[in-house]
Symmetry: C2
Subunit: 241 residues, 2 copies
């Protein structure tokens, strides 16, 4: 397999992933998942055991599921325990966060209490800019910065709500509450907006459906212990591995 | 005049204004403007000479002008240099900020530079909550907190854009650029959303149209000097006093 998709130049290294070009496939990239973990705009750093393998496997599993449900994603195929071939996208610099239950930064900008179920999902845009600390923005900020057109903004929101409607029951069947999650989108070579990045315990808040135990990156962020175990548990519930 | 509108109980004291009930008029209140000034969520405090008189006069002038242009406001009439009778509103706890030129907090959450003209006005919602520091929120936060309905959110945005279209040329004719401004709205006894609060150099960024000199509360916030003079200059350009 490595013969078919030969990785050439590393073009990006982020907090949790690396991206490489692939020889002979200009419109594809290789996405490699790392064990590294960061939090609070990279002020806290560490590693989580097998996170690269788990998150690659989970993203492959969930993106394949989404694709069957009619959501276009950048996934082409997984080619090793930590590597997947993806479509090359022009990433829209907006993190789209969807929330079903109040948690995290939401508690600092609303009067909602942790664990409170939202009557309707909240969708938020964060401007992907490390120097600004990925601030919350609204539609008119996105327009003023020309991050997306009015129509594209609507596409992002609709896609986030659609994916939420698919994933909420998907996780619940597996004993997990989808509290909130972050998505990134990009444009493919035809200018079509499709889902990129990853869907993993790094990018979702997942709580045990019975006990509300946190089974996601918050265990790392807030040093709650059993971080590796939480990632392994999510893997087991989703993929059976 | 004081005979007609006899103030009784003080029901509110804010950073820049006091509100009193009025004997025999249940649906009216008396709004009194103070010289006190605060900034940065009341971490900085001071007074500005004649600010109470200037801001009462300016709000009376501008709200009267808006009313002529078809914008309903809470203003009934000015009854003393620092006091006006207003309709009693149930205030919607959202500060509606409209921006024509990049300045202030916008520079911390976008890549826009101070002084940059926006191709389209930005409209922002801030949740009025001192303990949270009046955070930026979006439509879905407002909905989740039940601060306003979907229809009311649209009403607020439309009203802000309409008032901006009226006030931008109003100020420009008087040698002032309307950089940005904050509005507060409330519901009257019939449930109709109308404009409340004030429109003054406390709530607007106003720059000299020729020199871009700041003629607003930023002179106080950032200790730029000539604070009193700036307020007096705005008064002179608007009301001629």
């Amino acid at each position: 397999m490595a013969g078919k998709y030969e990785k050439t130049e590393q073009i990006y290294e982020g907090k949790a992933k690396k991206l490489y070009t692939i020889r002979e496939y200009k419109n594809l990239l290789l996405q490699e998942f790392k064990d590294d973990a960061t939090a609070f705009n990279a002020q806290k750093k560490g590693t989580i055991l097998n996170k690269g393998i788990i998150n690659c496997e989970l993203t492959n599993y969930i993106f394949t599921y989404l694709n069957k449900k009619g959501v276009k994603t950048h996934l082409v195929k997984q080619i090793s325990p930590t590597e997947m071939v993806i479509k090359r996208l022009k990433i829209i610099p907006i993190e789209v966060v969807t929330r079903n239950i109040a948690a995290g930064s939401l508690l600092k900008k609303t009067n909602l209490k942790e664990g409170q179920e939202l009557s309707k999902p909240i969708v938020e845009f964060y401007y992907k800019d490390d120097s600004l600390g990925d601030p919350l923005i609204n539609d008119s900020h996105a327009l003023a910065m020309k991050l997306a057109s009015e129509k594209e903004i609507e596409t992002l929101k609709k896609a986030a709500r659609k994916i939420n409607k698919i994933l909420k029951p998907f996780f619940l069947k597996r004993g997990l509450k989808l509290v909130d999650f972050k998505l990134e989108f990009g444009k493919d070579k035809n200018g079509k907006i499709i889902l990129g990045d990853e869907i993993t315990p790094d990018t979702c808040r997942l709580w045990d459906a019975e006990t509300n135990e946190k089974l996601d990156k918050d265990r790392f962020r807030f040093e709650l212990g059993n971080v590796n175990e939480a990632y392994a548990e999510v893997r087991k519930r989703i993929t059976g591995n």
